[in-house]
């Protein structure tokens, strides 16, 4: 049987990598990707918790995290469009 602790380790590692990328990388799009990676890691931890306690609640919360992830991506795309329309060509530093 699959050990659940391995899934927790994987989720914490993905969260750590996402945090490192969020702190070190500057472009807006890549920063958003790291945010999404952190949410994916949280979702994996919820699924692993659900398996550990044999409860379906973690799956429902994982679906909530997934919805938040998608909504955040849509809002971020709208904000990026807004910024792209208003930016000057010689603007420095680039955000995307």
């Amino acid at each position: 049987m699959l050990p659940v602790t391995n899934a927790f380790y994987l989720a914490s590692l993905l969260l750590l990598i996402g945090l490192v990328g969020l702190l070190l990388r500057r472009p807006l799009l890549i920063t958003l990707l790291f945010l999404e990676l952190m949410l994916t890691a949280a979702q994996l931890a919820l699924v692993a918790s659900s398996r550990l306690w044999a409860s379906i609640d973690g799956h429902a919360l994982a679906l909530l995290a997934m919805t938040i992830m998608t909504v955040q991506g849509a809002i971020a795309a709208g904000l990026a469009l807004l910024w792209l329309r208003g930016r000057r060509p010689d603007e420095d530093p680039p955000l995307l």
Partner: protein, 176 residues
């Protein structure tokens, strides 16, 4: 080592490798590609954790996000999209990644070797459609109403932002 564990290790390695590549790459298109690989690998892990519907939903949400980000990246243009991300600390990152990987693999294996059998065996119906729908229809009724509402509000916000971007041109559209 069971086949499940082998599959988990392969998926975990792919997810971690894709995340590290996401840290390394400079091109937004390549970063989006590695993000898609990481999401697919995490979905495979969720499938192994007896959450097939969450895995399918994660794949679908990941595909939507990849489509959105590719669209924005295309709008930004190659000159803007290829730049940025100059602040790097490769030595620090490499050392941290190797240390954490060693901690995960040797630490996990050591712990499993020292304390075996602390895993729980859920029933055969765990994570199935019947249990999930029963849970959503009874205990998580508020959540099942809140999720589409949240998606609707998010879509409205995105459409409002995009239409505002079209109706209010910024400094970039001024004649010089």
């Amino acid at each position: 080592m069971t086949p499940d564990l082998v599959l988990f290790d392969v998926a975990a390695l792919i997810a971690l490798g894709a995340a590290v590549q996401l840290l390394r790459c400079r091109e937004p298109r390549a970063a989006i590609r590695w993000f898609a690989v990481a999401v697919a690998a995490v979905a495979a892990v969720e499938l192994l954790l007896l959450a097939p519907f969450v895995a399918v939903a994660a794949l679908f949400a990941g595909a939507c996000l990849v489509a959105i980000f590719v669209f924005v990246s295309d709008l930004a243009g190659p000159s803007v999209a290829a730049s940025g991300g100059r602040r790097r600390r490769p030595l620090l990152l490499g050392a941290a990644t190797i240390g954490v990987l060693a901690w995960v693999f040797f630490g996990t294996w050591g712990r499993q070797l020292a304390f075996p059998g602390h895993d729980l065996a859920p029933g055969a119906s765990f994570g199935g459609l019947r249990q999930l729908s029963a849970g959503v229809a009874s205990d998580k009724l508020v959540l099942s109403i809140a999720l589409p509402l949240l998606l609707f509000v998010g879509a409205l916000g995105a459409v409002a932002l995009a239409s505002r971007a079209e109706s209010e041109p910024g400094d970039g559209d001024r004649p010089r």
